[in-house]
Symmetry: C2
Subunit: 185 residues, 2 copies
DNA sequence: ACCGGATCTGACCGATCGGTCAGACCCTGA
DNA sequence: TCAGGGTCTGACCGATCGGTCAGATCCGGT
């Protein structure tokens, strides 16, 4: 049988993805050249572009798992209302941020720019709904400010604790999120 | 008398600074070319480099006021201990973030890269002391995580509310910071 | 009328960017 | 043995990057 149907990735392919994730997290997307990624793996720049149609395609493939999980979270939030949605959003986003620390971190700062790409446009809408859920669907400026601080703070922070295991980072992030959002427990 | 001693800046100089702040805030430092800045002002790229020795020098001059205020805050924190330092740090940083929204926001994401420049190295130490003060000088991982979430969240958020006046944004940020850090009031 | 400094610009430079392409080097199946 | 697909590379492309430079323009002082 053709069991390699589910194996479109070679070892080099995966190495390049991992190297790109590392470099993007340090020097950002625009600040990382294909040469940099190739050098880290030990191959030529042309090899990077053999495995990925373009630099953008590399980024998309890198972010795909995290985006999928974000879409699932969005659907789960939509199935709840009020304080329930707030708890689901906080729990789910902390889980996502911990699991995809590198991927989330590399979006830092280049968010407004990268989101212009067609593949990422709908993420803006999702993140808006996420902010609304964090704010408890209140339109008070204080609630929206708190929601954005927590959301951005978690996203920014998770990449800084790559040495701390998931089981320790997750409750710490959840605790500060609940306090800041005044989640009724 | 020579009252122009305190006027080493021309109108074009200031226009270029303002345009650079705007562009850096949208597309980031690396994502903004000297051409972009020149185009926004309506002059040539060469004019930009006539008023500023280099792109780096432009960034340094743009950040100088915010950096000065950050250094003053650092000194003020050092003059306090324990919970007093925590309150001083939170109040002072929120004030700084609100006052220099654009400048803080443009550091987003490119922080680790830009800080490599010699002019910015000591800022890393200051921000470490700031995190420590936010954490109440505790080395519990939960306290440090909360401190970083609040610090990064405020820095990231303040640039997103350019339409809200200072008097409204400041108390909103302070409230969420106090809740998240469990500041004893 | 002339000069000197400040301001500004077009043309140009080397470097690097993302991306293309023809071909070399495997390895496998016929 | 050979054909063919997968993998990889050096050489090359046009575009753009930050930065340099000689010179044009303007303007106030002498």
């Amino acid at each position: 049988m053709l069991e390699d149907m589910a194996r479109p990735t070679t070892a080099t392919h995966d190495e390049l993805l991992a190297a790109a994730a590392r470099r993007f997290g340090v020097t950002g997307y625009k600040g990382t050249s294909l040469q940099d990624i190739a050098r880290e793996v030990g191959c030529s720049k042309a090899t990077v572009l053999y495995h990925f149609a373009s630099k953008d395609a590399l980024l998309c493939e890198l972010m795909a798992p995290a985006i999928t999980m974000l879409e699932e979270l969005d659907a789960r939030i939509a199935a709840h209302t009020g304080a329930g949605a707030q708890r689901v959003a906080a729990d789910g986003f902390v889980d996502l941020a911990v699991r995809f620390r590198r991927e989330i971190a590399l979006l830092r700062g280049e968010f407004p720019d990268l989101l212009q790409q067609p593949a990422f446009t709908h993420i803006q809408q999702i993140s808006e709904r996420l902010v609304a859920a964090f704010a408890g669907f209140s339109d008070r400026p204080e609630a929206r400010v708190a929601a954005l601080v927590v959301l951005a703070g978690i996203a920014e922070t998770c990449g800084e604790f790559l040495d701390i295991p998931d089981e320790q980072l997750r409750p710490a992030l959840l605790a500060v999120a609940y306090r800041a959002l005044e989640v009724t427990t």
